[in-house]
Amino acid sequence: MARTRTPGRGGRTGSPLTPYLFLAPYLALFVAFVAFPAVYGLWISLHDWDYMMSSQRFLGLQNYTDLLDPASVVFRDFWNGMGNTLLFTVVSVPFLLVLPLLLALLLQQKFPGRTFFRAMFFAPYVLGVAVIGLMWRYLLDGNFGLVNAYLGTDISWTTSQPWAWVSLVGVTVWWTLGFNAVIFLAGLGDIPTEHYEAAALDGAGWWASFVHVTLPGLRPVMIFVVVITVLASANMFGQSYLITQGGPSQSTQTAIMVITDLGLSRYQMGAAAAQSYLLALFLAVVSIANFWLMRDKDAAEQAKALRAQRRRGGGADGHTPGSSDPQVPATPASLGTVR
């Protein structure tokens, strides 16, 4: 295979500037709306910033210290929002991992119509939060909602606790379960059949092969799903905004609702920016912890496999995990490094 790399210079690949010309349109957007605001936001958070005013008073870290001071005006709302967001995340994430995985295991089997069923389960996800919010606001209506009519209950799903949380978690699971299931399904498809055959030869039953083949094989995909599901749950906004309006008595007001209300409705942007960075810091810690917890074992296992391979005088397939062939698309194993 002659896969010679032509350097940017010389030849007819164009000038050394060519790659930058290709990148320029995207980079302009990236700098303006991602890189610059990431820093600018920090700057804003150090001020008493109201964009309606002509000058912004510098406060130093006061917007941050206010968040830790129970006597400040922002304290109660912020931590109420953080607590609610934490509650929602802790309750919804397990459902959004276990149920999609079970569904993926069902759909992984070969049977006529599996594409059709996959499409059915994914359907809610293509609808926007505005649509599903309004739809469920009606279905969950305490007086004439279909949910009460079908269950034969008389529950105020959106205006009393714990039912408001049950509703929000339920709607979110219904809405996004198909998304995670599709990712799990792709991950299941990438587990080599030989691993299952080897397990079967060893006399492993369904449960044993699930625990010893499926789960370890899914680990990289699982890391990805855990991280994005936690991030998505912590970002919850529209469901609460539309279905419970943050109620009853602010008990379902999420952190993002608190931040946007403060920063974009009341224009106290400095304080709101500080809150958004503190929340982002929490999420970064959680994400890194997730990667670290799940990646550690992965690396250990890879090292073990490598050692075993070396003992066998391996590398027979010519594809060691370390090979840096640029033609090979990132596989699940490289997830940890690509991120």
Partner: protein, 275 residues
């Protein structure tokens, strides 16, 4: 591949689940065709006893709620956004996949790492940027900032990595420059990836809620999701009208989904596995 399942229980379970997943969507559609009194009776059935298009008439003739205008705004914004993403992401993804230049790995690393940065930290600073650009309350506010997301670049780079090098080699022999090669040879060969990215970007923009909620103000400028949330306030006691609004917002994406379902699902699957 597993053996073909012969267990009828599997079908029963999957069919029941399908009802759970699609039933609410059907209920939304059916409710929009009911008279208000029927939808809001103590014991509403699923099927309308009497079919009426009154809810749609109310919506399309309401002066306060220009639903048709919202629909057009959303259509324009989502289309422009999707085209912008596909163009900028394929150019950048191609350079990152197939060209060598100093700083490439660092640049790719920085861009990709932002996929895990929560979007809400950009709300305040980007609002101020739009204010300075004079873009608040315009469609540009909906079209442009979201196109800076890293997913498209990542997605297109992965696809271009999978194409054989021979494409460029034969183009070079024919004397084609890098831009001719890209637009005449690489892009046409990337059609499946381009369609997937186009559809995913369209869906994301059509459904976007939090950003347009805060950067659009005038009734005539709103996108459909934001207009709908306003409807909820205006027709609190008329569910068929609100459901009709939700149906109007769902139809384009559901139709798109029916026709390009495979692209959507494959795109999502790829994001995880190759992520």
């Amino acid at each position: 591949m597993r053996r073909a399942a012969r267990n009828p229980l599997l079908w029963v379970v999957l069919t029941l689940l399908s009802v759970v997943f699609v039933g609410p969507i059907a209920a939304m559609l059916l409710t929009s065709l009911k008279p208000t009194a029927e939808a809001q009776s103590a014991d509403p059935g699923l099927l309308p006893g009497e079919i009426t298009f009154r809810a749609y008439e109310v919506l399309f003739t309401s002066a306060d709620n220009p639903v048709l205008r919202w629909f057009l705004n959303s259509m324009l914004a989502a289309t422009a956004h999707a085209l912008l993403v596909v163009l900028t992401a394929s150019l950048a993804g191609y350079a990152l996949a197939r060209m060598d230049f100093p700083g490439k790995n660092l640049m790719f690393g920085v861009i990709i790492s932002t996929m895990f940065v929560p979007g809400f930290i950009f709300l305040m600073p980007n609002f101020l940027t739009l204010d300075r650009l004079g873009w608040l309350d315009t469609l540009a506010a909906i079209v442009v900032p979201g196109a800076a997301g890293a997913f498209g670049v990542f997605f297109m780079r992965q696809f271009f990595l999978s194409l054989p090098k021979e494409f460029e080699e034969s183009a070079r022999i024919d004397g084609a420059g890098p831009f001719t090669t890209f637009f005449r040879i690489m892009l046409p060969n990337a059609t499946p990836a381009l369609v997937t990215l186009l559809v995913l970007s369209f869906l994301a923009n059509w459904n976007d809620f939090i950003w347009p909620l805060y950067v659009l103000f005038n009734d005539a400028r709103l996108t459909l999701p934001i207009g709908l949330s306003k409807l909820q306030g205006a027709y609190t006691i008329d569910y068929p009208v609100i459901m009709a609004g939700a149906v109007i917002a769902s139809l384009p994406v559901l139709l798109l989904y029916v026709f390009v379902q495979r692209y959507v699902i494959d795109g999502v699957a790829t994001s995880g596995v190759k992520g």
